[in-house]
Symmetry: C3
């Protein structure tokens, strides 16, 4: 049973990227990461987002894959950790051959740690 647990944890955790990696990349002249805000809510509900994020609602993602750049690494986030929207966006991106991760702890965690956000 422990082997199954370990394999599940390894695969599950490999879906995620930590805020520290995203933050470090923000300071570089040429960013490797493109942060996608995949929340489906309208802008007035969202109010703010991770600094530099690109709004790409999960429901519109499949129709906009041609606008994305295969040389970049995409980082998707939803309101909170544990929801399915980020995972759905991630599945779309990985299935289309993109390098992509979900942001661990999501927007809630990012704001809880007082990391850079911007109003929208």
């Amino acid at each position: 049973m422990n082997d199954k647990k370990i394999e599940l944890l390894q695969t599950y955790l490999s879906l995620y990227i930590d805020h520290t990696a995203v933050l470090a990349d923000m300071d570089k002249e040429t960013s490797q990461y493109v942060v996608l805000d995949v929340r489906n809510a309208p802008a007035q509900v969202k109010q703010d987002q991770i600094k530099g994020a690109v709004a790409m609602p999960a429901k519109d993602l499949a129709a906009h894959l041609d606008d994305l750049d295969k040389s970049k690494t995409y980082v998707v986030y939803d309101w909170t950790a544990g929801t399915t929207l980020g995972k759905a966006a991630l599945l779309t991106l990985l299935s289309a051959g993109f390098d992509a991760y979900e942001l661990a702890s999501a927007l809630e965690g990012w704001k809880g740690m007082h990391l850079p956000i911007e109003t929208i």
Copy 2:
């Protein structure tokens, strides 16, 4: 590794149903979905629930499977996404041969989107 990620995401996401599917079904004369509130807390703590939901605490579910209808599709929800209670209820239902899903984003998401609730 990407194959493993994609397979995990596909299976994980197949456990969930979106609020839009549940909402659309609520408006039909004959509902296909039965929404089960599987929170274990007493009613005074719960205060409100998704409109039309049936209270079926996860701890009591296994003893009440005979009261359920195999022709229906069951949708379970807990307080928030990412907890284990909904998954435990879902495992009980699927193992007993029921068609069942967990509500993506849970009660927290449902209320955050101002979808129909009722006091209990």
Copy 3:
């Protein structure tokens, strides 16, 4: 597909331990469980913790495995359910041969149920 769902749910749920098991163990003269608070935040941000928990930030865990006791069962928790920190700590512990679980519903759920905490 149902077989895959059931297998995923079984493995996923086997990673978790319920608050009732942890609470019952707290009342025993000799506790089997050691609760590890794996939050990485500094103490002033954490403010309080589960009563009797040992602070062991996830980032420091791998370097402190020799301080742990293989005869005990470790229970890790993060701020909320659905984050990856608890799972990362759990993977470290299971891979090193420890008996370990993540606390279902995390600190948020524990406090929401008004279970014993202590200031730090």
